[in-house]
Symmetry: C2
Subunit: 596 residues, 2 copies
């Protein structure tokens, strides 16, 4: 069974030594009391919960899966899941970054994200049960009526109830404008909702006493397309005026999907048979309200793959140090053993370091974005709020797509380190790969993310947001440009920055002629900008590590090596990506559809 | 459920229009009677078997898996597997390329390989049951005593019995020198073999009445390491002098592995409890004898991923033409529908064309190598035999590693085309991904393949074999260099050829200083040479397609488009690979093991 050690040292390094998050957060009125010790204490306790409570039921949960009783429509998750959730609620974890007005602890998003990274490492499928609640919480917090807030937010905050997002239908996923679920207004101001939804994560289970479904549906007179969609809150059990649970509402699980991974999370086909709901936000503006949830969810999905990358790395390292097989080409390294541990082989190290660098780069970028998100939500300066919001919007598709593509590569490499054993369930490595695969698909496929980045976030405002972010990089390059020791990091970073500027202009010009050029280049473009972000944060981390080399702490030596590996072996991917992005549209569109 | 249409048009194009295999094969005495019609007739019938008999039980087989009865040690594969195997035997398929002396049809390896590509597309897990027999057949054919041949070869040829390769033990896979299974000589000349083997594909099942295990073990006085390993044939049921089945031999399935994929193939833990066997070949030279089987097996594994790439492509194309979602960025394409079919989106096409190009390039390279193998085995000119053998040896690790890495990329892309549905079992796409993953591991991991290529096959003889292959490419470049229409293919091919020459020299020089430099560069190097092969064959295919453009057959137009896509979007990967290969060892080895 895989092991997991929360990477607290690296989390603290990124938060406190690279980003100085406590100083930044203290400037925000609602976080004026935050300090390093509080952040660390929460992460330490959270790490214990992840490693001791939910990691041990990850492999068994995958093997067992969820069960649906078709007569009662009740779903039973695997053994131990309910008990772990009770512990989670008892520990107050759901409330971590929720609003104190509804019982939350009001801690920064950044701390919650650290907690979630560890839970995702330990057990992605389990973590999705509480994880989906956040989307419902945020949509209701932003758009709910006072009554809806009073009814649902305290229970979602305490974790007594969980939430879902009911968007997808069999014929529409990406294109929600096509959806058909109907909402008929009732005399009492409520709605009766009828339709079928699929791929509803945590759609039905016995972990919580009620489930709060956020459902997209159409009003009878709604315009066609995406401008005719409204958002409704539909509880599993209707809620009485005194807050107690009333009758069973007409929203049922009709089937569980058999999936490649995240077996322990119930992916439900939901049927709504005149289910009673109330509207959230304004009529026909449901998609906008839903996007509040989806942006947070996209960061959350990137974080899932960060967690998987980290845990896969840890286990592959342990195996590579333990497993003996063949001798090093450069001569015997472990003469006391029948063979050398496989970590002596350069390509084994390359696979391990790829995962390590993707985990460390991903953690730095994610933590930075979480900090910007905290500022976007809590700064008392409107300009700062807007600027941070724009930067978060720019970097969200990168975190979603770049981190999940990297997680797929990294978990597959770590599995490969195990040779044949990697393919066997009991070692747990193949589960990480299978679980990682969904992250490239849900909450908007990675292609959709790339179109969001290039089409909307970059070209949509003539590159203004990207330029602002680029100025931060340029300032760092300027600052460190004279340091001899930093040359090896600064030069390729500056070079890539120039190339991104040039590439962006070039694609922008072509897209002016034919908008499909955006679609032809977007996926490659996103990876190039992802590497620019990683190069920037690895350079910043290397700077800190160089400054602290004298401390004798080997952590800094390891950080420097990882940064050097990143620049030598991963960043060069951009050479190909820039070429294929520039190759553009012709080779994709010239072939007639009939010839495929 | 996925569909499968045997790609007969492309197979015939490669065989007859690009490689002119019939003319080449006719020069070999044993294939003097071969002709285009015979080859085509076998492929057409074989395609029917694949598509009609084994494709329909692929998805159900994956869901059902194999069952072990621990009391009897008997294994039952999924429903329909036994019946399909009976049809396979009845059709005479096992005998296709076997020696007529033992009942075989004596057809070229190339034809058998085409048949296997189709069976791998249809059902990789099922195909492994007959597939493993070939290894046993070849080892016994090459090294068996006349008695062993008479006992086993006719039954393996007819398919009445199947075979296995029992190499791996829990503590040793790659490093077979560590193996511990013991063989004690008996007074009657036989051996009693005791030990434990794992990962034995098709190790136990009820498809055939007997299973012929080829087992590696140590004699009592054997030297340590790989020079003390002998090969034995150990039947499940002992064979009486008259050829009838005798007593049950002491080799049992003690457990089935729970795996990521190929669920329908029984991956067995085998226990040998004084099992009776006879030696194959000479004492302590078992590893060499086993390598006869392993080289063929490595080509077979590349062929498995070729099959998966093709079938994943076909299904993703069908879905992309059918599924409507969003409008093209360049404007509405299907005004009669609520949305455009997703094949209008450039990145969907990029994913599809990636799979298509990897399938077509892989088929061309594999068919070429199969032809060289037929020449290596059957030419009456010893020089030609040796030259072909060397070329096959050079290209075998490329087929194994490049095609299986490509298959992983391609099946994952094709799954992505399905969005959320790709993650669901019933669509079959995620099964292709899971099945494809083992191909990068077994029969020597892809890292091992890359070391075999760079260390042994290239640097091991100072690049002589690579140079000979390079001369073929150079001759083609020379020949077509003046053709205006061929410039777009010839220029990048010639350029990559130069770069490979330079890179090889450079790594060779470095490896002279430190042999670990081979391990640092090998995986990147293999992909670069893989692309050189694909560029060569795509250029050759483009040449034929250009010549036949006037025929009006749209096949040639599609071939040209695919070739152009390959050069525009896939070949540029070499730009990054060359950089990372050249970055060499330091960033991999500088970090102390303790810091991982």
């Amino acid at each position: 069974m895989p092991q997991y050690n929360p990477p607290l040292r690296d989390m603290k390094f990124v938060m406190h030594e690279v980003l100085n998050v406590a100083d930044e957060l203290k400037l925000l009125p609602k976080h004026a009391d935050i300090d390093v010790d509080t952040i660390n204490a929460v992460l330490e306790e959270g790490g214990k919960f992840a490693a001791e409570v939910i990691a041990p039921i990850n492999l068994s949960g995958d093997a067992e899966g969820c069960k649906l009783d078709k007569s009662t429509h009740e779903v039973t998750p695997p053994k131990g899941f309910k008990e772990a959730y009770a512990q989670y609620v008892e520990g107050g974890w759901p409330a971590l970054s929720c609003d104190p007005e509804y019982g939350g602890q009001g801690l920064p998003i950044l701390v919650n994200q650290g907690m979630y990274e560890m839970m995702n490492s330990a057990n992605q499928a389990w973590t999705m049960y509480p994880g989906l609640s956040h989307g419902a919480y945020e949509a209701l917090h932003a758009h709910g009526t006072p009554e809806q807030k009073a009814t649902y937010l305290p229970k979602l905050t305490s974790g007594e109830w969980t939430g879902t997002m009911c968007l997808t239908e069999p014929h529409c996923g990406t294109d929600l404008g096509l959806l058909r679920t109907k909402a008929e207004p009732q005399a009492d101001g409520s709605y009766k909702i009828t339709g079928a939804k699929i791929f509803i994560s945590a759609g039905e289970h016995d972990l919580a006493e009620n489930i709060v479904h956020l459902v997209l549906a159409r009003l009878p007179d709604a315009p066609v397309g995406s401008k005719g969609i409204s958002l409704f809150v539909v509880p599993k059990f209707n809620v009485n005026a005194d807050g107690s649970l009333g009758s069973r509402n007409g929203i049922f699980c009709a089937g569980l999907e058999h999936k490649m991974g995240i077996h322990a999370n119930s992916t439900c086909q939901m049927v709504l048979e005149g289910a009673v709901g109330t509207m959230v936000g304004e009529p026909n503006k449901g998609l906008a309200a839903m996007f509040v949830m989806m942006n947070a969810a996209r960061l959350g999905v990137g974080n899932q793959s960060l967690g998987l990358t980290e845990v896969a790395y840890q286990n592959a390292v342990a195996y590579a140090k333990d497993r003996i097989q063949m001798r090093a080409l450069s001569g015997v390294k472990a003469p006391d053993k029948a063979a050398d541990p496989i970590i002596v082989h350069p390509d084994v190290r390359k696979m391990l370091l790829t995962a390590r660098a993707y985990a460390e780069g991903g953690r730095a970028l994610s933590t930075y974005v979480a900090l910007q998100l905290d500022k976007a939500l809590a700064s008392d300066d409107e300009d700062e709020r807007k600027e941070c919001e724009a930067e978060v919007a720019l970097l969200t598709p990168i975190i979603k797509a770049f981190l999940t593509d990297n997680g797929w590569i990294a978990t597959s490499h770590c599995m490969q380190v195990f040779g044949g054993h990697g393919f066997i369930h009991e070692w747990g490595m193949e589960q990480f790969v299978r679980d990682a695969r969904i992250n490239m698909i849900y909450e908007g496929t990675n292609t959709i993310q790339s179109l969001d980045l290039l089409g909307r976030k970059v070209l949509g405002n003539n590159g203004a947001t990207l330029k602002k972010f680029g100025k931060k990089i340029a300032a760092f390059v300027e600052e460190e440009g004279t340091s001899e020791a930093m040359q090896e990091f600064i030069n390729p970073l500056a070079d890539l920055g120039d190339k991104v500027t040039k590439l962006t202009t070039e694609i922008g010009m072509k897209a002016f002629q034919n908008p499909d050029e955006v679609g032809a280049a977007a996926v490659d473009y996103l990876r190039v900008v992802g590497h620019l972000c990683f190069a920037y944060f690895f350079a910043r981390m290397a700077k800190v590590a160089l400054d602290k080399q004298g401390s004798g702490d080997p952590f800094y030596t390891a950080k420097l090596h990882t940064a050097r590996f990143y620049f030598a072996k991963l960043l060069p991917e951009t050479a190909s990506l820039i070429r294929t992005a520039r190759a553009g549209l012709p080779s994709l569109m010239d072939m007639d559809e009939a010839l495929f």
